[in-house]
Symmetry: C2
Subunit: 478 residues, 2 copies
């Protein structure tokens, strides 16, 4: 047996950005590619995405949505139809100019988002109030030619889902926008164990072309905020430009009201940075590709232990996502490190003594607590433990967020918190975009959201001192 070096991960306290990259590369979640700003999602990372897809897709279908697929290409003229929209996206579009040997008559954008191409189809499909609502979602790749990139968080190409719906009334559209925001909140909190704040984006921060943008905001363990999902009420901005009209029951031609909403592979970045520690990744059981890793400790009785380990594997495999690490070339200690780094929620050890005592050793990744469990109770025990871990991870993240959410009553306090503590700053705001910009310029923090859950901290805007309209969250962000 050749002992391999344990893969080393930079401690978070030393260099958080390097820690993040180490976890991704050494945990084999993703890798850099030969294409500028594009990453390869490796099988272990992709399996997390598949679990996210499966769970979210079910929620979309349960709320009446159907999947479809629209072209990856959008003619320049189409992308330019909605003025705010093109202004927001043009700087980061990848342009196709040649097909084979021929130069194209019109440049074609690789989709940065699909509102325009989808609206051009909705104009064809929607004729009557009976055709409404249209509730369509798409799972696909999109491209945004970003200057600086970071695996999962900001890459030139990424995977996402984008919901695009059309409704008869403004109320229906607003209801859908908020319904999907709630689907995201519930998913991210229940399945990813990441607590989020629901709220509305300011005018400066809203989606290019939207009437109103809603967001769920999470706090990473380095104190930076991350926008984990957004839901936009598009109003009639696009329907008027793309002429999506329907004959209503009252005989009148009307423009539809639209929404769009999306989450992306960025969620994997959020999982890493919310839960990870200096040993590596820590995955919430509900989306962990491997929930239980079995590590046999052969001692002097390899055959006996291996057979028992296989038996236990067979016992567990119908209930959990389980793997048996029976590799010869690594020591148990190396394997413990490896699977801790890969964030597997439960490690199950089995050695000669355990077989004698008809027991297994169960170690949880979130607390490293170790327990001896009778073999016959293993399934039940693991089932409960996975639920406990899921819950505990959420509670730990929530505790961290509470400890890192501070109140600022004036600009100096706000600046001090951002500079010395990071985290969320709650502050009152007059509603003026200039005050928001002032904070951004002076501290680097942005207005993350105007939360639905309001508190009255004072009467005055944290910047200008004029009458405050809303309590809002500021933070430095990804």
């Amino acid at each position: 047996m050749e002992e391999k070096f344990v893969k080393e991960i930079t401690p978070r306290s030393e260099d958080f950005a390097q820690w993040y990259v180490d976890v991704i590369l050494k945990g084999e979640l993703a890798d850099y590619s030969p294409v500028r700003g594009c990453m390869v999602i490796r099988p272990y990372g992709y399996a997390i995405w598949e679990n996210i897809q499966k769970l979210l897709d079910k929620r979309f279908k349960d709320t009446g949505h159907k999947n479809a697929y629209f072209p990856v290409f959008i003619p320049e003229s189409l992308l330019k139809k909605e003025a705010e929209h093109v202004e927001g996206f043009a700087p980061e579009v990848a342009w196709v100019t040649h097909g084979g040997q021929e130069e194209l008559a019109e440049r074609i954008a690789v989709r940065p988002t699909s509102e325009t191409i989808i609206c051009s189809m909705y104009a064809k499909w929607i004729k009557s109030y009976r055709d409404l609502p249209v509730l369509i979602n798409q799972w696909c790749n999109v491209v945004r030619w970003e200057k600086s990139t970071k695996p999962f968080l900001r890459t030139a190409e990424f995977l996402w889902q984008e919901g695009h719906t059309a409704h008869r009334t403004e109320e229906d559209a607003e209801e859908e926008t908020l319904r999907m925001l709630e689907v995201y909140r519930d998913f991210v909190e229940s399945e990813l164990s990441i607590p989020v704040i629901k709220g509305r984006k300011s005018e400066n921060e809203k989606f290019a072309g939207a009437l109103r943008t809603y967001t769920i905001e999470a706090l990473m363990s380095d104190g930076r905020a991350l926008q984990a999902g957004t839901s936009h009420n598009l109003g009639q901005h696009f329907s008027k430009v793309f002429d999506i009209q329907f004959l209503d029951q009252d005989g009148q031609l009307k423009y539809v009201w639209q929404t769009s909403w999306g989450v992306s592979t960025r969620l994997i970045g959020a999982i890493i940075m919310t839960h990870g520690d200096d040993r590596g990744l820590k995955l919430p059981p509900k989306i962990a590709p491997i929930q239980v890793i079995i590590v046999p400790i052969f001692g002097q009785k390899k055959d006996l232990v291996l057979n028992k380990a296989k038996e236990i594997y067979e016992l567990l495999k119908n209930e959990f996502r389980v793997e048996l690490d029976d590799r010869d070339e690594y020591t148990p200690g190396w394997k413990f490190n490896e699977w801790e780094m890969k964030g597997v929620p439960i490690r199950l050890e089995i050695g000669p003594k355990d077989i004698e005592n008809k027991q297994v050793v169960v170690v949880r990744r979130d607390t490293f607590e170790k327990n001896i469990v009778a073999e016959e109770n293993a399934v039940e025990y693991i089932k409960n433990l996975l639920n406990d871990i899921q819950k505990n991870m959420f509670e730990q993240a929530q505790k961290f967020r509470e400890e890192n959410t501070r109140v600022a009553l004036n600009f100096e306090e706000l600046k001090n918190i951002i500079e010395n503590y990071r985290g969320f700053v709650k502050a009152m705001w007059c509603g003026n975009g200039d005050c928001e910009k002032h904070i951004k310029e002076q501290t680097g923090a942005t207005l993350r959201c105007i939360p639905f859950e309001q508190e009255k901290l004072s009467d005055k805007c944290v910047v200008c001192g004029k009458e405050a309209q809303k309590m809002v969250y500021f933070a430095k962000s990804y």
Copy 2:
């Protein structure tokens, strides 16, 4: 109630190509988009693709494969590394030349297939014999800038899966190539009810860069062949160019042996053209988005019938993919036509008289056979009927293929069959590419495959009369 016009479909005998497009557009499977050669896959068509994905993905995972995701972009220099490969694909590549406002230093291809980008990563990941085999699959979009396009069969962008594996020995790679071909055959025959011929492609028809290409070939109901899936043994062509070497157990550095294999949304075109009739689509139950459509016939008792229909819907929904068409604005007759056109395997009718007799009326799409079934037996009856339909559709397609497979012993016979009957022609071949080209030039038929199942029809090549090597299939194809 306003009676709508029944959507009309061009009869197959009148214009098969128009029939095909009618079925797609009026059945709402797909639509033309504002982008040249790209289609939109509408929810009903996409649901078929989702069912194909689910069933195939399970087969891939059961044979040890994992999914991953590689960039949609491939730098020109990378695409050009393997000479045969770039020659095969360069004429149909879409090129990105600008990112935002900037011109790129190197042109970037939108992937036509991913061998090159994947090989560049495998060179990084594979170091030892212990890393082998690498068994990775990817579900994604690819782009081939084709001159003439047709929904599902040939579009500038299409969806597919591409498996890419790396092995220690030539035998392992060949075994994998044939294993995946068999996965495809079994899937296409069992789930899509499409009989196929397994065989090898000739040198002229093989994949650009492959050592050997294997194929499954189906026969469409207009007598044209369709390549339904391919599996390539890439040999060491790519590993030598991309320098994918591993340290073998014997201490030697060796190049890996590779395979790649794929099927695409083209399969939906194959389903339409294998099974469809003049009333429209006919879907195999295993991949039908809706397996059972319930059409209530209100008569004078709307509430009673609607309640009963809902009760039956509840009864069936846990067992089958079922929908209740309770729309007011359409007559039952219109609905019958609509769901027949959309290819739903079973229609369940329920009216006042049926309620009185505690029965339902069950009509199958494949034979139009109508049966009265006691309500209490409905679930069991439908379960069996879906299996029967699946089987019958396969048998019908097989019968059609047998009737449309003919033997040619000389060139005149071959030409006559292709010109007057279409279908498959079985003929002996000397193995010379020139004879193959002669047939293509004179008749438009191509060599579809050298089937695994050989027969000896004569001693002489159907073209040159020299000694025959193999019995092969010729046909005009899509």
